[in-house]
Symmetry: C2
Subunit: 299 residues, 2 copies
C-alpha cells in the first residue's frame, strides 16, 4: 500500500474538472440561451465527477497527467449529465429531484429538458473535436477515442441499457438480463472513461487492455454498490430517497441475489480490478484507491 | 445548362443511400432490441435523403464520387431523423403523423422514442468514427468533419434553433429571430452536409468556402420554400397537413413578410447559391440542379 491520499486527490481533481467545465460550457445571449442555461444548471449541480476523474487517472497510469485532456474529461461529464436529464423525464423515470435539487424538466419544462439533454450529448462530441484538444492530441488517437466513446454511449451501450431498464421495469428479470442492463446502462461509460484515458494518454495494447479490464470490473462494482446503497444507504449521502429502486420495482443485483451475495460479488470484482493493474507502477495508485473506495462505500 | 438529369440522379443516389442505411443500421436480439427497431422504423420511413445526397454531391464537386463516404452520408440522415423524432414528441410539436405514418412515439411510446432519438444522434458519431470509414479517410479530415458536424447539430446549430422555435411559439417574432431559427434549425445541417462533402472529398480552402456559401444559401432557401409550401402546397406532396405551421402559430418567412416577398427571397438565394459554384466544372452540376429544384418546388 502506498500512502496515496485519495480524499485529497479526488477533491483536487474534482475542482480541476469543475473549473474546466465552467470554462468550456457554452454561453450565449441568442434566442437559444434557455437551453444553454438548462445544460449548465444540470451539469453544475455537483456530483463526484467520477468519470472525468477516471479518464484523467487512466491517462496518468500510462504517462503524465495532462491538462490537454480536460476537454475529453469534460465530454464524459456532459454525456453523463445528458443521460441523467433524459432518464429523469416524466416519460422515463419521472423523477422530481436530482442531487437534492429539482430536475431539469421541473425547472425548464419538458421540451427544454429534452433539448438540454440532446445539447449535452452533442456537446460531448463538440468537445472531443474542439480546436483546443486537436492542438495537442494526435488525430488518430482522437478518432479512436471518439469511436469507443460513441459506442459506449449509444445503442450498444448506455442507450441500449436504459432501453432494457425501461422495458423490464416491474417485470420479472433473470440474471442475464440484469447483467446486460448493468453492463450497458452504467458500466459501459465508466469502463470507457478509463479506456479513453489509456488511449489518449498513449497506452500500448497491453496497457490498454489491462485498463479496459479494470474499467469493466469497476463499472459493474459501482452499479452493484449503488444498488446496495439504495437499500441500506443514508439518504443524505446517496442524494436520492432510499428505497426508490424497490418502489419503482427496478431490477437490482441485491433484489435478485440478496444483500450478502451482492456484497461478495462487489469484493470479487474489486480483486479483479486490482489484479488488472498489477503491471502498473505507482502512477496507477489513484485507480487502485478509487476501486477500493467504491467498494468500501457500502461498509 | 448541361443536360444533367436531376430526377435520375436523385433517384439513383437515394437508392444508394437507402441501401447503405439498411446495411449500416444496428441490429440486435438483445433486450435493447426495441430501441433499434424504433430507430429503423423512423429512418426507413422514406424521405428524399437530401442531406446525404448533398454531402455526396459536395464531395463529387471537388473530386470523385466515392462510396467510402457513405457512412458519413448516412450519419447525416441519422442526425436528421433523430431531430424529427424529438421534434414530434408531445412535449415539443406533438405531431401524430410524419410522412403519412404514425410518429415514433405513437408506435413505440414516448420513452422509447426519446431513446431512439438519442440512439440515432449518437449513432451518427458511431458512423463517423466507424472502422469502415477510418479505413479509407484521413483521420485529420475525419476530425474536421466531426467538428463541423457536431457544431451544426448542437446548441450552436439545430438544438439552438429548435430551442428558439419552441420559446417563440405563439409569440410575436422579429426578422432577426426568424433568421436565427431558420439558420440554426434547418439551415445549419443542410449547409454542413455540403461542407462535409467538401472536407471529406479533399477540397482546398477556396473550394470549401465556396461550397459552404452554396450550402448556407441552399439551407435558407429550403426553409423558406418549405414555409411557402405549408401555405400553398399539396398535402400529398409535402407529407404533412397543409397549414399546420399557421395553426401552431409557427414563425415563418411568408407569415412575417408575405408570400411574394418570400418567393423573391428564395429566388435571390438561388442566384447566390449558383454564383458560389461559378469556379466549379461540370462535377458541380448536381449541386446546381438541386438548388434550382428546391426553388422550383414552389412554382
Amino acid at each position: 500500500m502506498s500512502d496515496f491520499d485519495l480524499k485529497k486527490y479526488l477533491e483536487a481533481q474534482r475542482k480541476k474538472v469543475e473549473t474546466a467545465l465552467d470554462g468550456l460550457l457554452p454561453h450565449t445571449t441568442d434566442p437559444s440561451a434557455p437551453v444553454m442555461e438548462a445544460m449548465r444548471y444540470s451539469i453544475m449541480a455537483g456530483g463526484k465527477r467520477i468519470r472525468p476523474i477516471l479518464m484523467l487517472a487512466g491517462a496518468e497510469a500510462v504517462g503524465e497527467g495532462d491538462d490537454a485532456l480536460l476537454p475529453a474529461a469534460c465530454a464524459l461529464e456532459c454525456l453523463h449529465t445528458y443521460s441523467l436529464i433524459h432518464d429523469d423525464l416524466p416519460a422515463m423515470d419521472n423523477d422530481d429531484l436530482r442531487r437534492g435539487r429539482p430536475t431539469c424538466h421541473k425547472v425548464y419544462g419538458e421540451a427544454i429538458a429534452i433539448l438540454a439533454g440532446d445539447g449535452l450529448l452533442n456537446y460531448s462530441f463538440e468537445l472531443l473535436s474542439s480546436e483546443e484538444i486537436r492542438k495537442s492530441i494526435d488525430p488518430e488517437l482522437l478518432m479512436e477515442a471518439i469511436s469507443i466513446f460513441s459506442r459506449a454511449s449509444g445503442v450498444f451501450g448506455m442507450v441500449g441499457g436504459q432501453t432494457a431498464d425501461i422495458i423490464y421495469e416491474g417485470k420479472p428479470i433473470d440474471a442475464e438480463t440484469l447483467a446486460f442492463i448493468h453492463r450497458h446502462k452504467t458500466g459501459a461509460l465508466l469502463a470507457v472513461s478509463v479506456e479513453m484515458g489509456a488511449v489518449l494518454g498513449g497506452a500500448d495494447e497491453v496497457q490498454r487492455n489491462a485498463l479496459k479490464e479494470y474499467g469493466q470490473a469497476l463499472g459493474l462494482t459501482f452499479q452493484i454498490v449503488d444498488d446496495i446503497l439504495d437499500i441500506v444507504g443514508d439518504e443524505s449521502v446517496i442524494g436520492k430517497p432510499v428505497g426508490s429502486d424497490t418502489r419503482n420495482q427496478k431490477a437490482t443485483y441485491p433484489a435478485l441475489f440478496g444483500l450478502e451475495a451482492a456484497r461478495s460479488k462487489a469484493d470479487e470484482l474489486l480483486e479483479q480490478a486490482l489484479k488488472a493493474l498489477e503491471g502498473f507502477d505507482h502512477r496507477a495508485d489513484p485507480l487502485r484507491a478509487i476501486a477500493r473506495y467504491v467498494v468500501e462505500r457500502n461498509r
